[in-house]
């Protein structure tokens, strides 16, 4: 403890002061910080992909397309973070809301839907998809309110299995396994998005993520965010202080699910196709892994976690095969790394739980929860003597 304090003390005063000032500025103008941050990240990433080694993996256009897909998972992780990270409700069936969002758009904007033929524009459908997913979030949340921990996880797992199963089996409505194809792509003021050009999707995705992130931060710092925290810490104490735990938890489920609805609408329009097998348990699990790896409760951390996991899974693992093949490494060249994706997830999670249980970029709060001994030590050292804090006398 003293060692790290010493190290911090030797840092140049000017640098620390600047960092602190930047920190306060970012805290007081959070929305602007997020927008500026995303503009910088969104312009820097594609440029970076023109430079080796990244440029050797795949073309810039493919990278941008990959980043857009990663953006879908960032959205999903941001939403699941509200449920799991803020309110502490373990949800193993989160992909269900993703599916609901995707099918909502597919029903409203595809000529191949068996029972109806509509073409509702993409942008309003983003909101509709979010609203429908939120409604199902309420419906899932309602029966689980009395459940906690393992039991809640099992019920949500069940819901996550039911939804794709319904889409699979209601083939008069959803075309079953064949899915719904020919979903209309978005257009904006007459500009038509196309499969060949990933840039418009990319820009739209970044904009949606930035907006969602601003909203999530606002929620976190609000009366509702505090109520979520209180419910996570001690439900009975929260109720005994006037927090309506029922509506608080329902709102967590609904608002968390709405983000998945957005992601679903976006995916459906981008792939122009939805089918039940896109929303398997593996998706729920991947999102949860992203949230845990990134750092539960920390909005930026979760976003980075989702980005890293998705990029590793969809780009790096695929690159490993040709890489080892060209080097002609014995044994390794015969392994299909994509096949071992979940083995690698598992390994990563196990290592994470052992070495850094709070995630890569933990929220300060989670870190405190998981490293209590250290904190209590600091408290003993720095806290004033209990008897020396005078009561106010009247």
């Amino acid at each position: 403890m003293t060692a790290s304090a010493g190290a911090a003390g030797t840092r140049p005063q000017g640098f620390r002061g600047m960092r602190d000032r930047a920190g306060t500025l970012a805290a007081s103008h959070r929305s602007i910080t997020i927008i500026v941050g995303w503009i910088i990240v969104a312009t820097a990433l594609p440029l970076l992909m023109l430079v080796p080694p990244f440029s050797t993996f795949q073309t810039q256009s493919l990278w941008i397309d990959g980043f857009t897909n990663a953006g879908v998972f960032i959205l999903l992780a941001l939403g699941l973070n509200v449920v799991v990270g803020f309110a502490g409700l373990l949800d193993l069936g989160y992909a269900a809301f993703y599916a609901i969002g995707a099918y909502t758009y597919a029903f409203a904007a595809s000529p191949t839907v068996p029972w109806i033929s509509l073409h509702v524009p993409f942008w309003p459908m983003l909101l509709v998809g979010a609203a429908v997913a939120a409604m199902f979030g309420l419906l899932l949340g309602a029966p689980t309110l009395r459940l906690r921990g393992d039991y809640l996880a099992i019920v949500t797992l069940g819901f996550g299995e039911i939804v794709p199963a319904v889409f699979l089996n209601a083939d008069k409505v959803t075309n079953g396994t064949n899915g719904i194809g020919g979903v209309y792509k978005p257009d904006l003021f007459g500009y038509q998005f196309t499969l060949g050009n990933p840039v418009p999707y990319y820009i739209a995705m970044v904009a949606i993520i930035a907006i969602v992130m601003i909203l999530v931060y606002r929620l976190q710092d609000s009366r509702l965010g505090r109520a979520w925290m209180a419910v996570r810490e001690d439900e009975l104490a929260a109720a005994s202080n006037g927090v309506n735990t029922v509506t608080t938890k329902l709102l967590a489920f609904a608002l968390g699910a709405s983000t998945a609805g957005l992601a679903g609408v976006f995916t459906a329009s981008k792939l122009t196709f939805v089918s039940p097998d896109q929303f398997s348990f593996a998706v729920s699990f991947t999102i949860l892994a992203m949230v845990v790896l990134g750092g539960m409760g920390n909005v930026w951390g979760v976003a980075v976690g989702a980005f890293l996991l998705y990029t590793i899974q969809s780009v790096l693992l695929k690159q490993l095969n040709p890489f080892f093949h060209t080097l002609n490494v014995p044994f390794l060249k015969d392994i299909d790394f994509v096949q071992y994706q979940f083995l690698l997830y598992g390994l990563a999670l196990v290592l994470m739980m052992l070495l850094r249980p709070e995630g890569l970029f933990p929220s300060s709060r989670r870190r405190r929860e998981l490293h209590t001994e250290v904190d209590e030590y600091v408290g003993d050292e720095l806290g004033p003597d209990p008897s020396s804090s005078p009561m106010e006398q009247s």
Partner: protein
């Protein structure tokens, strides 16, 4: 502070009427009557396991009583649930009506679309009623009341009605700061909803800022000024007790339930806490119901004392009367050998 006073017509803040709570065969609280006049300190004492905390939990809306009821500020808030079997009927009725209509529509017009619409309406109504039963909005409670169904208020309803409480084993939000703990206590006094938060309306921002200032005031009242930024779990024990009190005060209660507020404190801290409780009553006009083992505290500040033993009220009255009551002495010290 704007702690509301009781209605002038009915002075009593809280009236428990023959409250009984049984867990299976074990009767934890048996037909207890209790009254709390305005701005008074009433103590509930008794040996360990006498049912004091169970009684507290009934009053606070955490447990439903087996029989009897509790009136808080003139409203009957807590009682044994009545006709709860009828509640599912209330949920289903609107859907059944819609279902019958859909059948009639089909028989009359043979129009499949109209029927489908009516069926969808039936399903929609079922979902709405189901959600209403869980969230319990005001119109739903009125509907239940007309159907003769009664359900006790939940803990958060009691807080909203003006009751604050602390716990025997401190239950702070350990990983939140002292300030945030108190702000959670102000939950019922704040108006900002999810939409306000999402849009970051000026109203919500102003309220948030005001709530921080107000929370600091409450910390000041209990003597925790300057510790607002500390995590609750890092505070020393005595300060944690005081923080819990500040959190309970933050809902601006008319009645404060304190469950052993001086447990585990040294004599000096106990004296300070006693003084503080007395001041709350005098300066803020709050009524206090106290569970306490420390007789010095109880005898010093109580206006009236109730004594529980094995769930039964064995004595009540002024401190002096209770102290002299042979049944109380017997409960605490046992029967003299004869």
């Amino acid at each position: 502070m704007s702690a509301a006073t009781a209605d002038p017509g009915n002075g009593t803040i809280l009236r428990a009427h023959r409250v009984t709570k049984a867990f299976g065969g074990l009767v934890a609280v048996k037909e207890v009557d209790l009254e709390i006049p305005p701005t008074s300190i009433v103590s509930l004492i008794g040996p360990n396991g006498a049912g004091k905390t169970t009684f507290f939990n009934v009053i606070a809306g955490i447990l439903d009583p087996t029989s009897g009821h509790v009136e808080f500020r003139g409203d009957r808030m807590i009682a044994r649930p009545i006709r709860t079997w009828f509640e599912p009927v209330v949920w289903v009725t609107p859907s059944v009506v819609a279902g019958v209509i859909s059948v009639l529509v089909y028989l009359a017009t043979a129009n499949a679309d109209a029927t489908a619409l009516a069926v969808l309406a039936a399903i929609g109504l079922l979902i709405v009623m189901f959600l209403a039963a869980i969230v319990r909005p005001r119109w739903y409670l009125r509907l239940l009341a007309t159907a003769g169904v009664f359900r006790s208020s939940r803990p958060n309803d009691m807080v909203k009605a003006g009751m604050g409480r602390t716990f025997q084993n401190i239950r702070l939000f350990a990983n939140m700061t002292a300030l945030e703990n108190v702000q959670v206590g102000m939950h019922t006094k704040m108006r900002a909803n999810a939409a306000d938060a999402l849009l970051s309306t000026p109203r919500a921002r102003a309220e948030e800022k005001a709530s921080q200032a107000r929370a600091r005031e409450f910390l000041g009242i209990v003597g925790l000024r300057g510790r607002a930024g500390e995590l609750a779990k890092n505070l020393p024990y005595g300060d944690q007790r005081r923080l819990e009190l500040a959190r309970a005060l933050a809902s601006e209660p008319t009645l404060l339930l304190l469950d052993e507020p001086t447990a585990g404190m040294n004599p000096r801290e106990t004296a300070q806490m006693t003084q503080l409780i007395d001041r709350l009553r005098r300066d803020l006009g709050i009524s206090i119901l106290l569970i306490e083992h420390d007789m010095k505290v109880v005898m010093g500040i109580s206006d009236r004392i109730y004594v529980l033993d094995h769930g039964e009220l064995i004595s009540q009255g002024s401190p002096d009367a209770v102290r002299a009551d042979p049944r109380v002495i017997e409960a605490y010290l046992g029967k003299p050998a004869s």
